[in-house]
Symmetry: none
Amino acid sequence: MSRFLSNATNRIDAKGRVSVPSAFRSVLAQRNVQELYCFQDFVFPAISVGGPDLLERFERQIAAEDPFSPDANEMSLLIHGGGIFMRLDAEGRLMVTDFIRGFTGISDEVTFVGRADHFQLWQPQAFMAAQAQARGERKLAGKRS
Amino acid sequence: MSRFLSNATNRIDAKGRVSVPSAFRSVLAQRNVQELYCFQDFVFPAISVGGPDLLERFERQIAAEDPFSPDANEMSLLIHGGGIFMRLDAEGRLMVTDFIRGFTGISDEVTFVGRADHFQLWQPQAFMAAQAQARGERKLAGKRS
DNA sequence: GCGCATCCCATTGACGCCCATATGGTCCCA
DNA sequence: TGGGACCATATGGGCGTCAATGGGATGCGC
């Protein structure tokens, strides 16, 4: 029943750390997640974060197809080459590294966005823009029907 | 056969709380709803509120299509990233967070609007305007036919 | 030795839990 | 039929707890 839900924006301190929202930490604790698997999202300028199971799911998907196919190769490039493991400190904060900043455009604030089985790190304005666009498309779709 | 019906406007107190109308709380109690799923409406500048079943219905809709499709991704961005679980306090009030204020324009009063299987939070004037417009369109449609 | 990351502790402001009061409506009885 | 007791809802506020944040100190690698 518990999943990553809603969004919240936290500030990055002088040392480059940011608190993961308590609600998200609860979900991580409940799933016994110690190491966080982080990777650059496939479509959005955001970092996706989840447990090791997230990586394993991707790897199974790769394994399901021809290991030498261009598609599998590309996938591995993204999830292995574009992913890292991270840990939270004792207070539940994580370091915002250049790996994260460069890909997302994050500078001094981070928006945490729940995505059910994982969550994402966004540059606040980029998130609002993406959400507004998604809502706009959906509104049009609704009026059509 | 109970559903969310009619509308009522309540004041937000100094701590940012507002009482959910008793009639709505009765419906919630009858349906055994403890946790409220709230999300930013797709069409109106309003927060829609219902039970967890509301979220589950959306998730089934997502699951029905390719989980990696852009459409499913976009939908998740809205219902997971734009949604949140909330609880009422012992007196049947809920906190009006920035999450709600920013999206609706609510500042010191909230209009609760019944929508059968869920209800909505509106900024009072925005609700009256939307209702007036809907009435106008309907009147024109009637004259046409 | 210097820079950077981790560990530890302090502060403060927000939120949850609890109890008190007001206000308006209903019902009963004189 | 009018007054008053009673009740439910809406509202106000105290207080403890916890999360978010800031900053010092320590340890490790370059």
